[in-house]
């Protein structure tokens, strides 16, 4: 959020003012809106424009926690929410570490996350951008058609207040365009279709690169035409930046302080040990304005900050909110996450990045004798277990032989374990990209991964 004196702060303050002696009370109030345009075949397929708002209230008394929320800011509804949260307190088990965050004196790094240009951007132009993107993608290659082309933007404003002295509000907005492509080839029994996607993100439409988004969507789909299922074997994989970002996202759940204190992290008790190859430095830095998920405060209203998680392969620290920090005998690292007003704060990385290397994807590929360039993964939620470390996902991409990218392959999985993959990282590419996810991406080379096909 960009710090902003929001009227929502008054709403949050009024709730906190009703706290009774012995109660800790936190109110999180949010309001947000979206515009979502989908174009198909030159026409608007759908146009969504709306906003919503709500409040979430947490009450802690004698170590017990209760919570309630409502999707409205009507005064009587807020009264009901506070009453429900109070009623729910009695059912929580006493937890000596349960408490709200307190201001910790860490200065907020101010960020410019609100763009007036986006807020005032004419609707007709938003529709036009999505139409342009569709034209660019469908005109690029006779085998390619467009499944959908989209423009979307969102804005959010929120305020948090607590009896422990937290008082913070802010707002942010952002936009993106995306296109999904279909590439067809062959006839009859040989007919096949492959898919691709491309996108461009920004704080305002002026930052979009439609040509690049269209080109990537077309390339991703057409590259896979003619793909066959290869025989199974161990290979070196080179992950495309988008795939690397997804991989880093999985790693981040093993560095979650709450998982650590509850014994669910496979890296617990390993601070100071080598957990990755020496080329690996992993940093969570939401103060970096280039990160799409940059923010100035975390979900509990504490300053977001730069945390070095892995340095030259050595595990340095985990990320914490105030609860997990307290339990771990340390303090919050400014990593409370909050997915809206309907839940209580969790813990998570906010804006991850591997420190990039220096070489391009082509140079990385040139060093691989027998490998796989992974263009996409499928099933991250079903074949990856961050507690056991098992990693197995569907994949598609291009084989690499003797340093050259070759035939496309599909209907394969790639598998290893998270622990082993981190140690097996050969090189981090220099082709850093800031993506619309909680992690940046760049090409990444990992050896000794099992590719399963025929």
């Amino acid at each position: 959020m960009t710090r902003f004196e929001s009227e929502l702060q008054e709403v949050a303050d009024r709730v906190v003012a009703q706290a009774r002696p012995g109660e800790q009370v936190e109110a999180f109030v949010a309001r947000g809106g979206e515009t979502d345009v989908r174009i198909y075949d030159g026409d608007v397929e759908h146009f969504v424009s709306a906003q919503s708002e709500g409040v979430g209230i947490r009450v802690i008394r004698d170590g017990r926690t209760g919570f309630a929320y409502a999707g409205t800011l009507a005064e009587d509804a807020i009264r009901d929410v506070l009453a429900e949260a109070r009623d729910n307190v009695q059912f929580g088990t006493v937890d000596d570490w349960a408490a709200l965050a307190e201001p910790d004196g860490v200065a907020v790094t101010e960020q410019e996350l609100w763009n007036d240009e986006l807020a005032e951007h004419p609707t007709a132009d938003k529709i036009d951008l999505a139409k342009q993107l569709e034209k660019l993608a469908s005109g690029a290659d006779p085998r390619v058609r467009v499944d959908d082309s989209n423009y979307a933007d969102a804005w959010g404003e929120s305020a948090v207040a607590s009896t422990t002295g937290i008082r913070m509000s802010g707002r942010e907005n952002g936009c993106y365009v995306s296109v999904s492509t279909l590439a067809d080839d062959g006839d009859g029994d040989d007919a096949e279709t492959q898919t691709g996607f491309g996108f461009s993100v920004g704080r305002s439409p002026a930052e979009f690169d439609l040509e690049r988004a269209a080109r990537e969507a077309v390339d991703r789909a057409t590259r896979l035409l003619g793909a066959t299922q290869p025989p199974s074997r161990r290979v070196t994989v080179v992950l495309d930046p988008f795939v690397t970002a997804q991989f880093i996202g999985v790693i981040s759940s093993t560095l979650n302080g709450e998982a650590v204190v509850k014994g669910r992290s496979l890296f617990r008790d390993r601070v100071g040990e080598v957990v990755a190859a020496p080329t690996v430095t992993l940093v969570d830095d939401p103060t970096n304005p280039e990160a799409y998920t940059a923010t100035d405060v975390d979900g509990e209203g504490l300053a977001a900050r730069r945390n070095v998680l892995i340095q030259d392969g050595v595990l340095r620290q985990f990320v914490h909110n105030s609860y997990s920090g307290r339990r771990a005998g340390t303090v919050s690292t400014g990593n409370a996450t909050r997915g809206g007003f309907a839940g209580t704060p969790g813990v998570g990385c906010l804006a991850l990045s591997l420190v990039p290397g220096t070489r391009t994807q082509t140079e990385l590929v040139a060093d691989v004798d027998d490998g796989l360039l992974v263009q996409q993964m499928q099933g991250l939620h079903s074949g990856v277990n961050p507690i056991s470390g098992d990693f197995s996902t569907g994949a598609a991409g291009l084989l690499i032989s003797n340093g050259n990218v070759g035939a496309p392959v599909r209907e394969i999985t790639i598998a290893s374990t998270l622990q082993k993959m981190l140690l097996d990282i050969v090189e981090v590419g220099g082709d850093l990209e800031w993506l619309p996810m909680r992690s940046s991406g760049m090409s990444l080379v990992i050896r000794d991964v099992t590719m399963s096909g025929a």
């Binding site: 075949d41 279709t193 209907e411 999985t413």
Partner: protein, 474 residues
């Protein structure tokens, strides 16, 4: 209107006259169709972790989504303001996007539909004390922890919700439905020489607290613990194509991914499904009859009316291996000039409806499940599936195995570590060469599509696929 009203029936909160006026206004600038979807949901959840009830939460979600259609264009807006003025603003915003020239005055006459309630609720979650809900979690925690000393962590969750839905549209449809959901889930973590392993069980039905009269929550917890402990001695899963036997119930995810999404009419109409143009053709082994049925009492995907106000029904999609029909929503059905099928669903009033599955399952076959394993010389037996995903255009789909074993010489032997399996839909359906007679429904699922999640059920008998690629490391 006082939002705190005790009477939560939406039909009283929004008068029929108001609905008719708002709908008429929505189409007054030339649109052909408008729809009001109103929702009022109350939910309660409780979470236990690390031996403690962490919190009990209560929530209220209430609002209206208004859709306006002109030709191929849909305008949509939503609001939590249920007054006539608030609805009018939302309708205006939606109509603006879908406006054409012309229009005029239309009178909308809404005819309330008959009640269609596949489920009977005996114990409304609102009538059950929170203490009773919390107690379930404590019982699950105790049962999982006492199953074995290797269990080092247990988390459990309870959730219930009661949602009123009102749908009114310019075709005169007016439906009122109520959906109650009750769910528990439990995860166990075991620690051993090979590291940590996990087990998970869940149970959910569209009925009330009476579900716990027949469901044994301690048994669910012991099952989760057993899975985790079993996997402590798991070896890496094999890698490559081989026969795979999938246990009844859980395996329904296979069909959900292999062909369920591919049979949704929106993918079909956009030429983004491998099943396009194949009605009347053999798309699966003759053993396979696939049904999507939104009326099964108590199942997780069951509704009385879909989220467009169409009655839910039983739809046979594949019969003896031949493709008979797709699944439809209002717009897809209108485009093809055919009736809807009760598959128009949405996550909430803040979302557009689209074609979704309800309860998707394969009917019984002829084989004894024990014979299926015994007649498989070598392969993998999947006792529990996790989630999955599919690319409907290419047909490639994956699903995860969260409890699996090696089959050696027709016998189930060693447990295997978690992983994904991958296959191509039409080929996998054709490769089903044995189908058991032990049909069962699986665990409650959430189906994600285009950024929206809806509750779904699935099920199947024990079956064998001649060849699937197992994504192991061995």
């Amino acid at each position: 209107m006082n939002p705190g009203d005790g009477d939560r029936r939406l039909g009283r909160v929004i008068d029929r006259d108001v609905l008719q006026r708002v709908l008429a206004g929505a189409v007054s600038t030339g649109a052909e169709f408008a729809e009001i979807y109103a929702e009022d949901k109350r939910s309660t959840s409780a979470a236990l972790d690390d031996g403690r009830i962490e919190q009990v939460s209560s929530g209220r979600d209430r609002g209206v989504g208004i859709r306006v259609v002109a030709g191929e264009t849909t305008g949509f807006a939503y609001t939590s303001d249920l007054t006539e003025a608030g609805l009018g603003v939302a309708a205006g915003a939606a109509a603006e996007a879908a406006s054409r020239g012309g229009g005029g005055v239309r009178t909308i006459a809404l005819t309330p539909s008959a009640t269609h309630r596949p489920n009977t609720i005996e114990r409304d979650p609102d009538s059950v004390a929170k203490a009773a809900k919390v107690e379930l979690l404590e019982r699950m925690n105790d049962a999982a922890r006492s199953y074995g000393p290797e269990i080092v962590q247990v988390s459990a969750g309870y959730g219930d919700s009661r949602k009123h839905v009102l749908v009114a549209n310019t075709d005169g449809v007016l439906t009122d439905d109520e959906v109650v959901r009750t769910l528990v889930r439990v995860s166990a973590v075991a620690d051993g020489d090979t590291g940590m392993q996990t087990g998970y069980q869940s149970m959910g039905h569209t009925i009330g607290f009476e579900v716990f009269d027949t469901v044994d929550v301690e048994e669910l917890a012991r099952e989760a613990a057993r899975q985790a402990i079993t996997k402590l001695r798991a070896r890496p899963a094999p890698s490559g194509a081989m026969p795979v036997v999938i246990k009844h119930g859980t395996g329904g995810v296979l069909f959900h991914e292999a062909c369920g999404h591919g049979l949704e009419a929106d993918h079909i109409q956009k030429g983004a499904s491998v099943y396009a143009g194949k009605v009347g053709q053999q798309v699966a082994s003759p053993l396979v009859t696939l049904v999507d049925d939104g009326t099964m009492p108590g199942e997780w995907g069951t509704l009385g009316y879909d989220d467009e106000g169409h009655v839910t029904q039983r739809n046979v999609l594949i019969e003896d291996g031949v493709l008979t029909d797709y699944m439809w929503d209002y717009l897809r059905a209108r485009k093809d000039g055919r009736p809807q099928s009760g598959n128009g669903r949405r996550q909430s009033y803040q979302h557009l409806p689209m074609v979704r599955m309800t309860n998707t399952f394969v009917l019984d076959g002829p084989d004894d499940p024990d014979d299926i394993i015994a007649s498989t010389p070598n392969g993998v037996y999947v006792a529990k599936l996790g989630g999955g995903s599919v690319n409907t255009a290419s047909g490639d789909f994956v699903f995860g195995m969260t409890e699996a074993y090696l089959i050696e010489n027709g016998r189930i032997t060693e447990p295997l570590r978690d992983g994904n399996l991958i296959g191509n839909g039409p080929k996998v359906l054709a490769d089903i060469d044995m189908l058991g007679n032990d049909f069962a429904m699986g665990s409650p699922g959430t189906c994600g599509k285009d950024g929206q999640g809806v509750p779904v059920g699935d099920g199947q008998p024990t079956l064998r696929v001649k060849s699937l690629t197992v994504g192991g490391t061995a």
